[in-house]
Amino acid sequence: MFEEYLEDAYDFYLIGVEYYEDDNERKARQYFRASTFYTAGAIEGFVNYITDIFKTNGSFKRYEIAFLLDTCIQFDSSKFKLKKINEFHKIEDKVKFMMKKFNVNYDFKTEISWSRFCKFKKLRNMLVHPNDINEDIKIAEFKKDIEFGLSSIIEIMDILTYKIFDKHLRQRILDFKLV
């Protein structure tokens, strides 16, 4: 699924750019929003895909799987047993966890892809939880944030893929990078 989302994000971005260049800001924003949602969905899908691969082979502990799958294991004192409850965790925390888990040599303080990813995450949050202030995002900045966001997410995915599977993402996906 994450591959299709990346492709969708890229395609919507391109359409948005056409409208942007035609000075049709309304339509440009429409497609840029779509591109943002699919980009955000792609990294979620990727994390879930990796979790799915490793959840049954003993590489992850039970509480680690719970964390990645947005659950939490709690002790139910009334029934005297463990139970799973929903607990949403930030995608950036999941990505950080994976980087650590798979011993990726990645400095969150200095890597430019991480700072761009975090900035993109803020953009995504603003779109998912809209208020009037959000409409002040300039269209040019919106475009740039998507470019950096999509590219940084692909880069992060590629770093993890290479570390885990000894292979890069397939070329077609890498070609979706915009910067």
Binding site: Y49, F54, N57, T161, I164, R170, Q171
Partner: protein, 420 residues
């Protein structure tokens, strides 16, 4: 050693120029042919096609190596590399390895095609046009003081065009298929493998292995692959990182030949394995060819793809210790009804590792690298041990790919820890 013109027989029809005779004289003095050293005679021959004069004789290995030049070229310009006449030595080719062994065991090689040419690189006047691998093998034997007589054909005073023509003819080979070489090698080892394949009905009575890839009959390589992996599976531990392999082709397969020494060809379980594999192949083929849609030849032959053979064989060996899993594996041909094929070749072709497998990836069971072999084995393992719905489908195939990826990572991580 005396050189007499009498020792060179020139028939009346031939009228060689004096320069040819002078070249022959120099050749004799430098290379000391066995015939001349033992009061024999040489004949002068004429190749009508090339219009070139030549002799044939025997030379000792040491003498040959001392005078031979493997980098013969058309114009005698050592820097003119595009005109080097010979192909490169393929050090890793199985046939070359066998050649070297033969040379060490005293093999006399024949028909080494050479020109005696003092016009360039005078210290090495024997310019090789055909037989450079044999000469390399001779060279290695000579380095271990094994110097045998070898048959040479020596040309003299060739023109540029003659050099090209002779070099071309001597570097043109009609390639013997590796599967045929395997069959010949297997015949040398004995009839057990063929007899066993006939017994389990992979071959019909009095039928031999195929000498090339084909839809019905297995090659020797396929049969060996099945057996090697059965034994590998048999000796593997449950928590090992399992890696099937494919038998070598075109030369010796030491791993197979070692296993062959310990095979009990009449062993009940071993025979049962063979029969079940033959049945899988038969039903796979029948289902695909008898249906109206998707009668794909590759789908029909899927059971004979080396990846499937290797991984199925491995699984069968692995499951010998668990009757439930083994029965499940053997019942694969019955897992689906007409017109569906038990291996679900179409589903296997669609499976892929998301994000990683390239666009041109053709699905499970098409390649024979370690990753594909491991993935295909995982299909059979998940099918037999975990799948609730005992059918190979795209979901199971994708799950197998993921499962293999996880196992491979864990194995890699474990190895890194062990190396600390």
């Amino acid at each position: 050693m005396e050189w007499k013109m009498d020792n060179l027989i020139i028939t009346k029809s031939l009228k060689p120029p004096i320069k040819i005779l002078r070249s022959i004289e120099k050749f004799i003095s430098i290379c000391e042919p066995y015939e001349i050293n033992n009061n024999g005679t040489l004949f002068l021959y004429f190749d009508k096609r090339s219009k070139a004069y030549y002799i044939t004789c025997k030379i000792l290995g040491n003498t040959l190596i001392k005078n031979v030049d493997l980098n013969a070229s058309i114009d005698g310009d050592e820097e003119d590399i595009i005109y080097k006449l010979n192909r490169d030595i393929y050090q890793d080719a199985p046939a070359f390895t066998l050649m070297k062994e033969d040379a060490l065991n005293g093999r006399s090689f024949e028909d080494l095609v050479i020109e005696f040419d003092l016009n360039y690189n005078k210290k090495k006047p024997l310019k090789v046009y055909g037989g450079q691998h044999r000469i390399k093998a001779i060279e290695e034997a000579c380095s271990k003081d094994i110097s045998e007589l070898h048959g040479v054909r020596i040309y003299f005073n060739l023109t540029r065009d003659q050099k090209v023509e002779i070099a071309t003819v001597n570097n043109t080979t009609i390639a013997v298929p590796n599967d045929l070489l395997d069959r010949m090698r297997e015949q040398q080892l004995g009839t057990n493998l063929r007899d066993w394949c006939q017994k389990v009905e992979l071959l019909s009575n009095h039928q031999d292995f195929s000498d090339r890839k084909e839809p019905i009959l297995p090659t020797v390589r396929i049969a060996r692959t099945l057996i090697i992996n059965y034994y590998k599976g048999l000796s593997a531990k449950d928590d090992d990182f399992h890696q099937p392999i494919v038998s070598k082709s075109g030369g010796r397969d030491d791993e197979y030949e070692d296993i062959r020494k310990i095979i009990k060809w009449d062993d009940k379980n071993f025979v049962e394995m063979g029969k079940n594999f033959a049945r899988l192949h038969k039903i796979q083929r029948e289902r695909v060819l008898n249906r109206k849609l998707e009668k794909n030849a590759e789908y029909a032959r899927k059971a004979l793809s080396l990846t499937v053979v290797a991984s199925w064989g491995f699984a069968s060996g692995l499951f010998q210790r668990n009757d439930t899993y083994l029965k499940c594996l053997y019942k694969l041909p019955d897992s689906v009804n007409d017109p569906n094929d038990p291996l679900n070749a179409k589903a296997l072709s669609k499976a892929r590792h998301k994000g990683v497998d390239p666009d041109r990836y053709r699905g499970l069971g098409t390649r024979t690298n370690a990753e594909e072999l491991g993935r295909m084995l995982e299909v059979f393992i998940i099918y037999a041990t975990k799948a609730r719905n005992k059918v190979i489908n795209e979901k199971l195939a994708n799950a197998a790919i993921k499962s293999y990826a996880a196992k491979k990572y864990s194995y890699k991580a474990q190895k890194e820890i062990e190396d600390i």
